[in-house]
Every structure is written in C-alpha cells, then in structure tokens.
C-alpha cells in the first residue's frame, strides 16, 4: 500500500513538473473558470432572478465550481490518451510497480490542479461579492464535496480515455455528455421556472445534487425544495452518487488500463 502511494506520488510529481515547465498551461485551465465567474456574476447576474437575498453572484458560484469539476473528466481523459499513445503506459507497465499507481498518480495530480483552480475562483468570487455564510468547517466541507466530484469525474475520464484512445473522440464525447449534464442542472438556472418534465430531469440530475449540497454548505440560498429526494437531502444524495460512481468506475478504469494497454 505504501508502495502504491509513493509510486503515485512520484507519478503525480511528473505532472507537477509539466506545469512548472509550462506555466501557461496552468493559466489556460484557470482563465476560463475565472472568466465564467466574471461573465455570469456581472453580465448575466444583472438580468437573472434567483431565490434569496444574495443575488445571482451568490447563486452561481457553486454552479461554476461544479462545472469545473465536471470538466476534470476531459483533463484526465486527454492526459491518459496521451500517455497511451506515446508509449509511456507501456513503459510504466513494464516496470515492477503497482499498476494502480499510474492511474492514481494521474487522478491525484489532476485533483491538485482542479483544487488550485477552485482556490483562484474562490478569491475572484470573493472579490466580486460572493460570500460563504456557514463558517469555516461547512465551507471546507462544501469544497471537499466539490473536489470529491472532481476526483470521481477524473476516474470516469480515465475510463473514457482508456476506452476511446483518441483525443478527438474524447473531446467529441465529453462535449456531448457534459453540456446536458451542466445545463440541465440547477448550476446556472433555478429550476422553479422550468417546464414540468424538464424540471424533473434537472432535479434528478446528479450534478444538481452536488450543486445544491454545495449551496447548502456555503450558506448560499437555492430556493424552496421541490420535495424530490435529491432536493430534500442534497448532501446525502451527492455523497451517495459520487461514492457509488467511484466504486463502479475505479475498478472499471483499472481493468480498462490492463486491457487497453495490452491491445496495441
């Protein structure tokens, strides 16, 4: 076990070096989310009607955080595809190291990056007026839950990358999957005004559960619960969904790693 951890650590360190080598990459992954915070907070915020006193700036932050976590799927998937195609996966697999450490190293490094992005976003959000109202512990719990989502999406991304094996396919698929997941949720728009069937979809979208949970933990208002379970108990619903996703995806990604690397 300690071997797995130290190998993963060394492999995660590899990605940290990439970032040190090319800081513009870090800038790249940070600029978009920060731009989202500004665009949604200022531009759309002036036109949006949301529940509670905090206004759209308070409402939107949890949504943008969740979207960044969702996008972590693509980051990991692309990284895995790169390693597969340039032969590094073969190199690592031919070493007497634990085979889980390669994926664990990558998902950990991607988690660190997404954590960094969140920190920057939080600062920018604070500067434009976003506040967390429930104290340090609950705020940290909110970020913890969001990062758990980022980690789960990262493992899902590893599975996707290992299955598709091409960066183009990964981009295409993640666009198709992530758009509806993000926009058919309560991340950007309160579900109250939606037509009936769409409202049901939004309420049961797992992304909504995470967003609602984060809003609750941050103390940002999210309007009245509709009575659906994920809306009534968002923290439990989010934890269950994310842990279940990890429980399914981690072993599947591990198996895909064994086979995908073996196929060529």
């Amino acid at each position: 076990m300690t071997e797995v951890l130290s190998d993963s650590f060394a492999l995660a360190g590899r990605q940290m070096r990439h970032i040190r080598r090319m800081p513009e990459q870090l800038l790249g992954i940070t600029v978009m989310p920060v731009a989202f915070v500004l665009v949604f907070g200022y531009l759309f915020g002036s036109a949006m009607q949301v529940p509670g006193q905090g206004g759209y700036k308070e409402y939107i932050m949890a949504g943008i955080f969740a979207q960044v976590m969702l996008a972590n799927l693509t980051t990991t998937a692309i990284g895995v595809v790169e390693d597969l195609n340039n032969g590094l996966v073969d190199r690592f697999r031919a070493l007497p190291i634990s085979r889980s450490s390669v994926l664990l190293g990558r998902t950990t490094a991607d988690l660190v990056l997404v954590g960094w992005t969140s920190a920057i976003m939080a600062v920018v959000g604070y500067l434009i007026g976003w506040r967390a109202h429930n104290g340090v512990l609950q705020t940290l719990a909110g970020f913890g839950l969001l990062l758990l989502m980022g980690f789960a999406m990262s493992w899902l991304g590893a599975l996707v990358g290992l299955s598709l094996r091409s960066p183009e396919a990964v981009s295409a698929l993640s666009g198709v999957v992530m758009m509806p997941l993000a926009f058919l949720s309560n991340a950007f728009v309160p579900p109250e005004g939606l037509p009936g069937w769409m409202r049901v979809v939004v309420e049961w979208n797992p992304v909504s559960a995470v967003v609602s949970a984060a809003r609750d933990l941050f103390g940002n208002e999210r309007g009245a619960s509709s009575g659906a379970f994920p809306s009534e108990h968002p923290v439990i619903a989010a934890l269950v969904v994310l842990l279940a996703l990890l429980a399914v995806v981690v072993p599947l990604a591990g198996r895909a790693y064994q086979r995908a690397a073996a196929r060529r």
């Binding site: 590899r14 070096r17 340039n86 190199r91 697999r93 031919a94």
Partner: protein, 342 residues
C-alpha cells in the same frame, strides 16, 4: 549455456486473427536473438507477451529464470523494454525522465540521480540532459528511451524495432550501444524488419511469419540452408555468355539463370569444389576468359524472400555502403581470392 529467454507454443488470438500460432524461442544468456519478419508477422505481440504487457492465450515462457504465468512482477524487475515508439515523457528533461524511472524502481533519490547521470554519460546525452525531451532529435529520443529501459540494469533486454525511422548515423550509434550491453552480459531479444540489422547484431535469427517461427539459426546457417551458394560467371560479350551458359548447364543439374544485361550466368553450387573445377575447365576449353568467376552466398534478403515470399523492408537502413553489405562484399572478395588461388 544458460537460457535467458525461452518460449513454448505461445498463441494469441485477436478476434478472428491468429496473431501468434505457436511461437517457440530459445535465447541463451548473453546473446542476441534477432526476430525477423514482415509487418504483422507477430513480432511485437511476441515481445509484449514476453515483457508481461500481454497475456498469451496459450503457451509457456520463462524470462530471466522466472515463469511468465506466475512470476510476472519478478520478470518486470529483470527486463528492460524499448518499444516501437520512443516512450519518453516529452515535457520532462532527459535527466528527469531517467530519475523518474529510477524513483519508481526504488533506487532512492540519490541512487536515481546517480544512475541517471551515469546513463546520460553513456548515451552521449549529457549536453542535452536538462532540455525537455520534446526538443530532442529522433536519434536522441531513442537513446534516451534505451537508457530508460536500462535504469534497472536488467539482465534481459527487449528491443522492439529499436532503430525504425532513424538515420544511418543514429542507427550505427544505437547498434554500438546495443553491442556494449551484450558485451556486458545482457541478453537481448531484438525485433527488426531490417535484414542488415539482424545480420549485423544477432547471434541467432528467428524468422517469424503469420505467427509461427518458420526458420531459425545463425545468419550464416540461414543463408546456407535456405539460399545456398551460387556459382556466378560474368563474361565480356553476349557470344561468350551463350557459351558460358552451355558450360554451366553441363556442370549443374539445374537450369542456369541468365542475366543478359550484366552478361552474368549463375547456377546453384550443388557439387561443391567439383562443380567449380568442372566449370573452370569447361570455360578454359572454349577459350572464354570470365570477367568475374565467383561463389556468392545468398544474402539475408534472399533468405527472407525465399521464406516469406516478401522482400525485407524497402527502406535500406544502412544504404549500399552500410557495414553489413561491406562485410558481405569483403567476404565475397575473400572467397573470390581463394577461388583464384585454387
């Protein structure tokens, strides 16, 4: 001699394609086995199985004394693998690439650094050590890749088409580095499409086609057994060519092969020295003075053609003046001299 790699009846099927159909190999410790074969013959699949990257459907193998089925991790600790792609992290420096492997091999921080320095020195990468690998030339990448597979100082090395796509200079440099490893006692299994490469490096060659070993032996044995030797006579005029063809037809049970452009006629050398003597006497009787009278051993190219019905790789790795061919020419010149003395 101790056996470093042995494989028995390896089979692997992908869908309805039988990639390996019962591969048997033996590589004595401290030698190079060249695995030769056309594209898709099963060379890479064989290497990937032996390097534990792929499970065979059937068959057994031991590598470096460990059983493939039950001791894969020990095998991984004792083999180095260089695949068809230079598997280096482009965004790390050469030194970092080697240090990462060293760390993963638990050499410790200091140990990994020392080993990296040593290998950078050995593979002439010191000047480029702190540049990102993506700035490296193809030859430098291959050298770094080979160095990376040697960090653990493994007793067994798998090289899967290690020089594909390299220019002549880089290829020769890599050949030297491979030879150094073998001199140091490392056992090498090398796949290649380049006949010269196998001829130059390998102690023994296994020719694979359609997932089975169709011939194996030393390069010389293969050339003798499969291609045999031919007596070849070149003359000055077409009239002489006709006469010379008649002479050779008399001394050989097989039809002579005539090439009018080069005014050369040849027959398989079935009867050894007697055939040579008879041919020489026949030509002398007719007063024909041959421009060239020689026994030619078939090239590995002929062997490959005869065995697989395909030419070797089009791209001639070493060019017409490559060392392998120079050796061949030297050998032929020597044979010619012997003949003239006789």
């Amino acid at each position: 001699m101790e056996t470093a790699i042995s494989a028995e009846g390896l089979r692997k099927r992908y869908g309805d394609h039988q990639a390996l159909d019962g591969i048997d190999l033996e590589v004595p410790a401290g030698t190079i086995l060249g695995v030769l074969g056309p594209n898709g013959a099963g060379k890479t699949t064989t290497v990937r199985i032996l390097a534990t990257l792929l499970d065979p459907d059937e068959g057994r193998a031991t590598v470096a004394g460990y059983d493939l089925a039950t001791q894969a991790k020990l095998i991984r600790a004792n083999v180095g693998l260089t695949g068809q792609y230079a598997a280096v992290d482009e965004r790390l420096t050469g030194r970092e690439n080697l240090q990462l492997i060293g760390t993963l091999l638990r050499l410790g921080r200091k140990g990994a650094r020392a080993r990296a320095d040593e290998l950078l020195e050995k593979f002439s990468l010191v000047d480029a050590a702190d540049r990102m690998a993506k700035t490296y030339s193809g030859g430098m990448r291959r050298r770094l890749d080979l160095a990376a597979s040697l960090v653990a100082a493994p007793p067994v090395l798998f090289l899967d088409e290690p020089t594909t796509g390299l220019d002549l200079t880089s290829r020769l440099a890599l050949w030297e580095m491979i030879k150094e490893q073998v001199d140091a006692g490392v056992t090498v299994l090398l796949t290649t499409q380049y006949l010269e490469e196998a001829d130059q490096l390998a102690d023994r060659i296994a020719v694979i086609d359609k997932g089975v070993v169709i011939a194996d032996g030393t390069p010389d044995e293969l050339k003798r057994e499969v291609g045999g030797e031919r007596l070849e006579v070149s003359v000055a005029s077409l009239a002489d060519l006709t006469a010379a063809t008649r002479v050779l037809a008399d001394v050989s049970p097989q039809e002579p092969v005539v090439d009018r452009d080069s005014r050369t006629v040849s027959v398989p050398l079935a009867g050894g020295v007697n055939t040579i003597a008879a041919a020489a006497t026949g030509l002398e009787r007719l007063g024909i003075e041959p421009q060239d009278f020689a026994v030619r051993r078939s090239s590995l190219d002929d062997v490959f053609l005869a065995l697989t019905g395909q030419r070797g790789a089009d791209e001639d790795p070493a060019g017409p003046t490559g060392p392998a061919q120079q050796d061949d020419q030297a050998a032929q010149a020597e044979q010619q001299k012997e003949m003239q003395a006789a």
